[in-house]
């Protein structure tokens, strides 16, 4: 019986608390708006920099695509009438997709391993990820050229066994290797940050409920790590779309990316309008991918936020 009385006391207390809260709400709203104003002020420098150095150039590209050399849609007509252009667009998307797939497959076990080892080993692994990340892409790509060319160390080593030519340079394989290596940190880091939040005791719980180790991993750990996988994959894919140096140096003309095409049109032929249209196409594709993933994220959004909040408990 005492428990009963206590419960009712509890509920009166909570109703009172709610009442108090609703009374003070207008005041609270004022506070929020003042906070927001301060926040806006803090963001102002960033906005200014973006406006001058990003939005304005973007706008000129947009304008150029419709006006250079004369107003009209002729630049767009040119882009879609040339099968080469559309082919390069698809190839850019195709190769970027495979780069993303490779990165996810390589990064997942790596990130998982990072969560399992002792802190000192973890720092070492983190360094392994970050050191190439801190060196210039151009230098790294040159390193790959040296490594992968037929007269390089791998080629000479294999020639000892009678392999006449490595034949990787100037193929899609070389492009995939080079790009995946550059982009790997961008996939490892978000994956690691998500995985390190996952409560491993959930796996013990799953086993106690009758799941084998592998089953427990697939049904509990994997779904909880997916937000990190999605973030890493998206970052990788979007960045891969804009790659220029690596495909140009490691690939043949058949691995041309949109960015190489832009360079050819603008620098080689002086066709600013054509270059602007290709750049716009790249932007549209990127935005489309971000939009689709945002929609997917919202569809699964409640589940994702429940994961993040819940795994701490």
């Amino acid at each position: 019986m005492p428990a009963r009385t206590d419960t009712s006391q509890f509920s009166t207390l909570s109703t009172r608390a709610i009442a108090v809260q609703s009374e003070s709400e207008p005041k609270k709203r004022q506070w929020v708006s003042r906070d927001t104003r301060r926040l806006m002020l803090a963001l102002l420098p960033a906005f200014l920099v973006l406006a001058v150095f990003y939005f304005y150039p973007m706008l000129t590209v947009l304008v150029a695509s419709f006006t250079d050399p004369k107003p009209g849609l002729q630049n767009f007509e040119w882009f879609f009438s040339q099968s080469v252009n559309v082919g390069v667009l698809w190839r850019t998307i195709y190769i970027s997709f495979w780069v993303m797939a490779i990165c996810v497959v390589v990064a997942y076990p790596f990130a998982y391993f990072m969560t399992m080892v002792k802190p000192s080993t973890r720092s070492l692994l983190m360094l392994m990820v970050l050191i190439p990340f801190l060196t210039s892409t151009v230098v790294r790509t040159f390193a790959w050229v040296l490594l992968l060319q037929d007269s390089g160390p791998i080629g000479s080593f294999l020639s000892l066994f009678g392999v006449e030519s490595l034949g990787i340079m100037r193929t899609p394989t070389a492009v995939l290797i080079g790009m995946a290596q550059v982009l790997l940190p961008f996939v490892v880091l978000p994956m690691f940050s998500t995985m390190s939040q996952i409560d491993r005791r959930l796996l013990t719980a799953a086993e106690s409920l009758g799941a084998k180790r592998v089953k427990a991993f697939v049904t509990v750990y994997l779904p909880l790590s997916l937000p990190g996988v999605a973030a890493g994959a998206l970052l990788c894919f979007v960045m891969a779309l804009g790659f220029y140096i690596t495909p140009a140096m490691l690939g043949s003309s058949r691995e041309t990316f949109l960015s190489t095409l832009i360079q050819g049109q603008v620098q080689g032929l002086g066709q600013w309008g054509h270059g602007a249209v290709i750049a716009l196409m790249l932007l549209v594709v990127t935005l489309a991918i971000l939009g689709v993933s945002a929609l997917l994220g919202r569809a699964r959004g409640s589940a994702v936020s429940d994961m993040v909040g819940g795994s701490k408990a």
Binding site: L209, G210, V220, A303, A313
Partner: protein
């Protein structure tokens, strides 16, 4: 052995739902034999022997690091014993991996799967057992009914309070009707009020399910409320196992007497059937094998005499002079702390007897040797005041 517990659970739990008779009721479901766990040189658990009875609510009670959680983890299969064996229904348990043992486990940290709804969480063990969809639904509904969480099926764990989350965890651990439910301080993360309510819920659920519960806690009050039997752990060994009443009335070790309930403890030298302490010679019943003795008296067995009243019973032959240092009003009774040459005496007397005694009064405390427990003083000597 069959002494009723203060709360009277023994009778109701063990008799309900069993028509098979004494043999089944009293047979052991799980036996631990010489169970030992060492981490390098550190001994976490040392030669534990224990028979767990079918359908009982057994509590492992002890301070942190006493080996109670280690024992639970060994039974669950989360760690492997260094030595010893475990028999579940007379079959060796240690050869089975955790996922093959078919035991229910409830964790202090709930361990609900955050990406699954309440229904999916409770359904999880049934899916591992390849149960059909319609059977799964029935079993989940039943389990959620037992823990009184109908209507919460589609919520995510994050949307539930701590108490509700723990009830989901409980439903998930009982939904496949495991023969034994293991609980590791399941109420430890909850506030006092919720804890007390859930203790009553656990007793009801144990009654309804009729399965064996093994419960780990460091809270002696919780152990007294819940258990049919309590195993008191200390430094990797079981000091005593018995009903709450046995542990309270007849502790076999000083550690148990201190850990469960309040008491006055007077230490002295045991010789010729008496205990010499300070200038007093205390009458005791029973005997011990060493000369270091500790006499333990529960507060309600301690009597007090002061100028205003409160006479001793005739059998209260041990009488010590002291001064009231503190007094706490408990409603129907008062609790006095009396400083004596032998140490602090704790006295609980009914309100009507106690009314006149005040802080600072010179009083006599006394007790009947039959109401005291004579124990070996196993504690380091410097603790003697």
């Amino acid at each position: 052995m069959t002494a009723p517990t203060p709360t009277g659970i023994t009778g109701t739990t063990q008799d309900s739902g069993h028509g098979e008779g004494e043999i089944v009721k009293d047979s052991n479901i799980l036996s631990l034999r010489g169970l030992t766990k060492r981490y390098g040189d550190a001994v976490a658990l040392n030669n534990v022997n224990l028979d767990i009875r079918r359908g009982e609510y057994l509590t492992f009670l002890g301070p942190s690091g006493s080996g109670k959680t280690t024992t639970l983890n060994l039974i669950a299969g989360f760690i492997e014993p260094t030595e010893g064996s475990m028999l579940l229904e007379n079959k060796p348990l240690e050869k089975l991996q955790a996922h093959e043992r078919n035991l229910g486990v409830v964790f202090q940290h709930y361990a609900l799967f955050p990406h699954m709804t309440v229904r999916a969480n409770v359904e999880y063990p049934l899916k591992q057992r390849k149960m059909s969809k319609s059977d799964r639904k029935k079993a989940v509904d039943k389990a959620l009914e037992v823990v009184r969480l109908e209507g919460y099926e589609d919520r995510y764990p994050r949307q539930l309070s701590g108490g509700q989350q723990q009830r989901v965890a409980l439903a998930r651990a009982v939904v496949y009707t495991p023969p034994i439910l293991l609980m590791d301080e399941p109420l430890g993360a909850l506030d006092k009020k919720l804890r007390e309510w859930l203790q009553l819920e656990l007793r009801r659920i144990h009654r309804e399910l009729g399965s064996t519960f093994i419960y780990v806690t460091h809270d002696q009050e919780e152990a007294l409320v819940l258990s049919d039997r309590i195993a008191v752990f200390n430094e990797g060994e079981i000091e005593q196992i018995g009903t709450p009443r046995e542990l309270y009335d007849a502790p076999v070790a000083l550690f148990v007497g201190r850990f469960i309930g309040e008491s006055s403890i007077f230490k002295g030298i045991y010789a010729d059937g008496k205990v010499k302490a300070a200038d007093y010679e205390l009458q005791v019943e029973g005997s011990i094998s060493t000369d270091r003795a500790a006499v333990l008296i529960r507060p309600e067995n301690m009597q007090i005499s002061h100028p205003g009243g409160g006479d001793f019973t005739e059998s209260a032959v041990n009488r010590i002079a002291g001064e009231i240092q503190d007094m706490v009003y408990l409603g129907p009774a008062r609790r006095y702390s009396v400083i004596t040459p032998l140490g602090e005496a704790i006295v609980r007397v009914p309100e009507r007897v106690a009314a006149a005694a005040q802080i600072g009064d010179k009083v006599l405390v006394g007790w009947d040797p039959a109401d005291a427990v004579l124990l070996v003083d196993t504690e380091p000597a410097e603790q003697v005041k």
